[in-house]
């Protein structure tokens, strides 16, 4: 006789028990391994999605700046060193809206369908080749739409659509001379193909997200023509030649591995370097305007204002070249008049901020009277002699000036100032230079005032003949001069503080040579980060973002925690049942000379074999489990991830890890079961004693241990609960693996409460006085049942544990449910009291709360009285938008910098005064004012939603995240709690405009309106502001879509908890059956002494019911305690009735399981049973 055969015989003989243990291990392994495989699958699927959505596009330039289209050919023709390109495609990528008029059918009347925030890609065949599309690129008025857009609008091939996009503006629209009238244009196109979801074109996008975008592809030529970005040859009519422009370049590199790997970053640097070698000033919207006569060149911007970085770099380069410089800021004055004689006035004149000390060719000015203003005087001004004569003023006289300033909401209010004439210069020489004013198409090149492209309503009636004469003779020559610093203090904008920098070569050198050298040096001096012209390794970034995604392994292990716990308890319980049956064998083996350790090792080895086989089978089952979970994520729980493009990806290492963890956990459970036998003497083992507490050594000890455990665990639960309720447990800091301390506190509180209640059960069962058998009737039976459940206390406690852990999950999940759809607007909540949230494709400059603003926004005409009243009843709160990645829970990818909202100061004040939105752990009574705090140089305070910060950005209060390509860091100042601001960060408008001066207007709106009229208002705004792609939805719907993810996770949790309950019920049924079989003699005796079958049935049922009820109560109370911090919060919406029904169902299922045992108990014949005993 050897150990091997003994093990084999034992394994086979006790196959039922072993099979049960094995199945438990299979369940644990499948769940753990499956969770790991789900994590792998999600990661690999996201990686694949990153690759699929880009086709062969590995690198991209998409800075928003319009550059020459030729750059694509130049990049492709002269590849950067070490980078082999498959192609470079120029494109214009913009956000827009698409409309489709559905024809009337027998079922549906004609109607217009709209889609806002559509990605419009203007491309040619080069892009088509890169994205591996089979057909040819759209030409002329053709359009290709993707399936998402087609389904949204109900489009089919040959349908007509209108694509509405913003016309790229040379001068920012919210600048003084910005074009506010023609802001959008409409392309009428015919759909020629629909790109399906599976195709690259069906999902093309640069930002990592698994959600499919709405895309429309149009001809590059067509769109360029439409928005004036096409090539223009120099003609008499068009004195300025222009190259065709694009704002995106998509490139593919030949080496596929390099495209996805870290080498892509080197390639991106090389391509960016190459791009910068090819840049001209025109690509940066800059130009050098030469004045041969005056001997200087002027650096101007098409935006009219030189960006600060450009102006600084140009000044440095000029200094290097020893050039004479003259920085200038000009501004348009609407009216100038003599304070003494207001009828002496001059209209639409240029004032220039200059350096009065400038050397030739920029000075000196020839004063006919007086001199320059006193240093930094904001009250003195210099005028030319033409104006002095026009107004009839001389030195010392007061003049009034009127000009427009740029308001926050696109309005241009008039400002008035008075100046004392300090000097009068001759309109000659440096003072008679129209080149001080940069070229502005439609204005500076107009022949007369009436030809001006009016940037605002001009009062042409007041333009005098002398004004026209001056314009005719001197065009944009300034009539007034101020010191540059004074002019800047009055009229600098967020875009910059100079309108031009005039440069003269040193010593009167050749102007062309100087201009060429200056241009080259300036381009060299402008780093890619300052120009925004950086080529990014988008494919590699996508792969990286996929790798750093939400940890689905952790998530599913978390979800499956109680399932794993149930499986482990079940393994321990079943193994223990097996051991209990064989306890005399253990005694015998000890008696014949095996040491207790050898006996334990023998049984552990037997268990290990079962566990190992179970682990192997479980590893296979893990694949099936993962498949099921992936299937669930694609179907039942699609709300959690929002994509159907998940596939099973099995990594052997994950299975091995799952196997190892499950085997270790199961072996620990088995070891623990065996350990329970320690301290029981051989004699007692031979007598069948299997419970240490029933042994001589354990008597009395166990109840004390159980009592103490109950107290300690209860204390831990109470302390943690208090900590959570009082805010001592931080909910904004990550503990580990993406779990916050609050989540950890929830789990620990829950487990501690469970342990306390179950240890309490153990102590109760131990107490002989718990239920003395006395009295009569059902109560007496109940007491006898209770005493019976104390017979195998550990077995009973384990059974109750199974029920309790499953109940815990179900109750906790129910307590976590929220139903935002029914949440009314409440100021101190996640909706902030707002009913609607809206976004636009094109920024709106104006204040939609005022009639003027609405008129300017183009929605003033034709509004009925009722509509006007409706709009007037609403409050529309605007936010500026810096587009970024979607960092909400709707995006699984790791995000770097989310979309940022800029909050105007009046909105900050409003939010503060009205105490809007609910904040979590934010150290301020007025959290919105935190946005105004000075947190040091390059540190900008921001607010973010708790979910976004914790789960997507992994940041807590006080932590920072960098703004790419800048030295600026965003510091988390406060956290919204379950707000509509999920996925974005919020900063003050002031800081926003410093950081992102190019972002004009408002694209995000919160609207407060009577919920009953919200749909009506949304329809009205969407229709009237359709050119902006205005897209409104209820805040509750937006919150619901965010919470759908959370609620989906909860239902996942619930489903897996349900599986745990199934295991619990199985365990309960097994234990009950075993109890009955063990006690069949006793039960037969009861029947023999006169108990009816009903009595015996009730006895067994009561024993079962007692354990069930204890388990249900322990699970319910523990879950409610753990969830208490959440239950006392706003928005908790516990479906109590459903929960009660569910728990009742659990009870009924458990009792049904016990009925099998009851049936067994009364089935056996009394006499035979007594005899067999």
């Amino acid at each position: 006789m050897k150990t091997g055969p003994l093990l084999l015989r034992s394994l086979l003989h006790y196959w039922r028990t072993n099979l049960a243990v094995l199945l438990g291990v299979v369940a644990a392994t499948a769940v753990i391994g499956g969770a790991l495989v789900v994590g792998d699958s999600v990661r690999d699927s996201l990686k694949q999605m990153s690759l699929d959505r880009l086709g062969n596009v590995s690198h991209a330039l998409s800075g928003g700046r319009f550059v020459r289209e030729d750059l694509a050919d130049l990049l492709a023709a002269t590849p950067a060193e070490g980078v082999e390109l498959t192609g470079v495609a120029p494109a214009i990528a913009m956000a827009g809206s698409v409309e489709h008029e559905q024809a009337e059918t027998s079922d549906v009347s004609a109607r217009i369908t709209r889609a806002g925030r559509v990605n419009v890609y203007a491309v040619d065949q080069r892009f088509w080749d890169l994205t591996t599309a089979e057909a040819t690129a759209p030409e002329g008025n053709q359009a290709v739409v993707n399936r998402q857009l087609a389904d949204h609008l109900g489009l089919k091939v040959d349908d007509e659509i209108s694509v509405i996009i913003e016309i790229p503006a040379a001068i920012p629209r919210d600048a003084l001379l910005g074009d506010r009238d023609e802001t959008v244009t409409e392309l009428l196109l015919t759909v020629t193909a629909i790109a399906e979801d599976e195709a690259t074109l069906g999902r093309f996008g640069l930002n990592p997200t698994q959600q499919l975008p709405q895309n429309v592809y149009v001809s590059l030529d067509t769109l360029q023509q439409q928005v004036g970005l096409n090539a223009v040859r120099r003609t008499r009519r068009n004195p300025v030649a222009k190259p065709a422009r694009v704002n995106a370049l998509f490139a593919g590199i030949a080496d596929e591995a390099s495209a996805k790997g870290p080498n892509a970053e080197f390639a991106a640097e090389a391509l960016t370097g190459q791009l910068h070698d090819e840049l001209t000033l025109a690509d940066l919207s800059l130009k050098l305007v030469g004045s041969e006569v005056r001997g200087y060149v002027s650096l101007e911007s098409e935006q009219m204002i030189l960006e600060r970085t450009v102006a600084d770099a140009a000044a440095e380069v000029a200094a290097e070249l020893n050039a004479e410089t003259s920085p200038v800021l000009v501004y348009l004055l609407n009216e100038i008049w003599n304070r003494e004689s207001p009828d002496r006035y001059s209209m639409y004149s240029i004032v220039a901020g200059v350096d009065f000390e400038a050397d030739p060719p920029f000075g000196p000015f020839e004063f006919v009277e007086g001199g320059p203003p006193a240093a930094n005087s904001r009250r003195q001004i210099v005028i030319n002699d033409w104006l002095a004569e026009d107004l009839g003023v001389s030195v010392g006289d007061e003049i009034g000036v009127k000009y427009k300033v740029v308001g926050d909401r696109g309005e241009l209010p008039d400002e008035e100032m008075s100046f004392e004439v300090a000097g009068i210069v001759r309109l000659d020489g440096p003072a008679a230079d129209p080149g001080m004013t940069p070229y502005v198409a439609g204005i500076t090149d107009a022949d007369t005032f009436s030809d001006w492209r009016q940037p605002f309503p001009m009062d042409l009636d007041r333009v005098t003949d002398r004004d026209e004469d001056y314009w005719d003779a001197h065009k944009t020559t300034p009539k007034l001069f101020l010191p540059l610093s004074v002019a800047q203090s009055l009229w600098e904008s967020r875009y910059g503080e100079l309108t031009s920098l005039r440069l003269a070569p040193p010593g009167g050198g050749d102007l062309d040579t100087f201009a060429d050298e200056f241009e080259q040096r300036l381009l060299d001096a402008l780093p890619p980060t300052s120009t925004g012209l950086v080529i990014s390794p988008v494919m590699y970034q996508g792969v990286q973002a996929a790798a750093g995604t939400t940890d689905f392994t952790g998530l599913f292990i978390g979800f499956s925690f109680f399932l794993i716990l149930s499986a482990t308890i079940l393994v321990g319980l079943l193994f223990r049942l097996g051991i209990e049956r064989r306890v005399t064998q253990i005694g015998l083996l000890t008696a014949v000379g095996l040491t207790p350790r050898e006996v334990r090792r023998l049984f552990l080895l037997e268990g290990a074999i079962v566990v190992a086989v179970g682990g192997l089978v479980g590893s296979l089952a893990a694949i099936g489990y993962a498949w099921l979970m992936i299937y669930g994520l694609k179907t039942w729980w699609i709300g959690a991830i929002g994509t159907r493009f998940l596939y099973l990806s099995v990594c052997p290492l994950s299975l091995a890890i799952g196997f190892t963890i499950a085997v270790i956990v199961a072996l620990l459970a088995i070891w623990w079961s065996m350990r329970q036998l320690r301290g029981i003497s051989t004699r007692e083992l031979l007598a069948g004693v299997s419970d240490f507490s029933e042994s001589t050594a354990g008597r009395g000890l166990h109840s004390r241990v159980a009592g103490r455990t109950a107290m300690v665990a209860g204390l831990i639960a109470a302390v943690l609960l208090l900590g959570s309720l009082t805010g001592l447990v931080p909910d904004d800091q990550e503990a580990f693996g993406g779990f916050s301390w609050q989540v950890v506190a929830f789990f620990v509180t829950g487990i501690a409460a469970l342990v306390a209640s179950l240890a309490g059960l153990s102590a109760v069962l131990k107490s002989d006085r718990a239920a003395a058998v006395r009295g009569k009737g059902i109560a007496a039976l109940a007491r006898l049942g209770l005493r019976n459940s104390a017979r195998h206390r550990q077995r009973s406690v384990l059974t109750a544990s199974l029920i309790a852990s499953a109940t815990f999950v179900i109750v906790a999940v129910a307590a976590g449910q929220r139903n935002p759809a029914v949440e009314a607007p409440v100021r101190q909540s996640g909706n902030g009291g707002f009913t609607l949230v809206a976004e636009t494709s094109t920024p709106i400059l104006y204040d939609l709360n005022t009639p003027d603003g609405r008129i300017q926004a183009g929605m003033g005409d034709g509004l009925s009285e009722e509509e006007q009243e409706l709009i007037a009843s609403a409050r529309i709160v605007p936010f500026r938008v810096r587009p970024g990645e979607n960092a909400s829970c709707l995006n699984l990818y790791q995000t770097q910098l989310p979309t940022i909202l800029g909050v105007p100061q009046d909105v900050i004040d409003l939010m503060t005064d009205e105490d809007r939105f609910k904040f979590a752990n934010t150290p301020s009574d007025a959290p919105w004012t935190l946005l105004d705090e000075d947190r040091g140089e390059n540190v900008v305070p921001v607010l973010g939603d708790m979910n976004t910060l914790q789960y997507s950005l992994h940041k807590g209060i006080g932590q920072t995240l960098p703004v790419p390509d800048t030295d600026v860091e965003l510091q988390i100042a406060g956290m919204f709690d379950g707000s509509v601001f999920q996925g974005v960060l919020v900063m003050s408008e002031e800081r926003f405009l410093e950081l992102f001066p190019e972002e004009a207007g408002f694209e995000y709106f919160l609207i407060e309106v009577d919920p009953a009229r919200a749909t009506e208002l949304a329809d009205l705004l969407e229709t009237r502001l359709s050119d902006y792609g205005f897209d409104a939805e209820r805040v509750s719907d937006r919150l619901a879509s965010f919470l759908a993810v959370q609620n989906t996770y909860l239902s996942t949790f619930q489903t897996l908890g349900g599986l745990g309950l199934l295991l619990g019920t199985l365990g309960l049924a097994t234990v009950m059956l075993r109890n009955v079989l063990e006690r069949r003699g006793e039960l037969a005796l009861l029947r023999a002494v006169g108990y009816r079958n009903t009595h015996v049935g009730l006895l067994v049922l009561w024993e079962n019911a007692f354990l069930m009820l204890w388990g249900l109560a322990a699970g319910t109370i523990s879950a409610l305690l753990a969830m208490l911090p959440r239950l006392v919060s706003i928005g908790a919406d516990v479906p109590w009735t459903n929960l009660e029904l569910l728990l009742l169902a659990v009870f009924v299922v458990g009792m049904l399981a016990a009925l099998a045992a009851v049936k067994e108990a009364i089935r056996l014949p009394i006499l035979a049973t007594l005899r067999s005993e």
Partner: protein, 228 residues
């Protein structure tokens, strides 16, 4: 003439249990000496401590006081592992309940005590077969315990107790679960085999009939062995 020292010597063995109503002395100074091949029967009423005494001698329980010498060694002073080894080599047990492993055959059950010695070799197996032949179960060696009678199971248990040729065979109510005829047969078998193997045999029993067949008989009275 020098008498050889006894192979088994119990001196002043005591056993006290802690009870709710105060300590309870079960054994009050038990003395017993036995030589090889001797057979002793111990009788006494239920709760008199017969089995406790047997388990103390079999190193499965510890006395409160006294010494135990078996073949010149004092195994009560050994650690648990050494006691197990000692028990394996020197002591065989026959219990009231046979405690056969249902998953093993009759032969394998007999060979169970060879496990601590590294498993059964051919010699052990031959011996097991011989023992089974000797008790009349030669035809049943491949049967499982469930397929043999109660008397047969107890005979297998006797063989199992003897497989390692112990110096001391302890029997705890070996016939307690058997009918009269079978009990008689098992009792005879125990005495015969003990004599054949020159094994000391201590048998604890209620059965005066069985005890009457033993050359030395004691009754446990007041925690002491009284010769009968």
């Amino acid at each position: 003439m020098n008498e050889s020292p006894p192979a088994l010597q119990l001196s002043q063995i005591t056993k006290r249990f802690a009870g709710t109503a105060g300590p309870l002395d079960i054994l009050n100074g038990v003395d017993l000496a036995m030589s090889g091949g001797e057979a002793v029967a111990v009788t006494g009423p239920s709760g008199s401590g017969k089995s406790t005494l047997l388990y103390i001698v079999g190193l499965l329980d510890e006395p409160t006081g006294g010494t135990l010498t078996i073949t010149g060694e004092q195994p009560l002073e050994f650690d648990t592992a050494a006691q197990a080894r000692f028990r394996n080599r020197n002591i065989g047990f026959v219990f009231q309940d046979h405690h056969l492993l249902p998953q093993l055959t009759v032969l394998e059950n007999v060979l169970i005590p060879t496990l601590p010695l590294g498993g059964a070799d051919a010699t052990a197996e031959t011996r097991a077969r011989q023992l089974l032949e000797r008790v009349g179960l030669g035809e049943r060696i491949d049967h499982r315990p469930a397929r043999i009678s109660g008397g047969e199971r107890q005979r297998v248990a006797v063989c199992r107790a003897l497989i390692n040729q112990p110096k001391l065979l302890l029997a705890d109510e070996p016939t307690g679960n058997l009918d009269q005829a079978t009990a008689e047969s098992v009792g005879s078998l125990l005495l015969e085999i003990a004599a054949e193997q020159q094994t000391m045999l201590i048998c604890v029993t209620h059965s005066l009939e069985l005890a009457g067949r033993f050359p030395r008989r004691y009754e446990l009275v007041g925690g002491r062995l009284e010769p009968r």
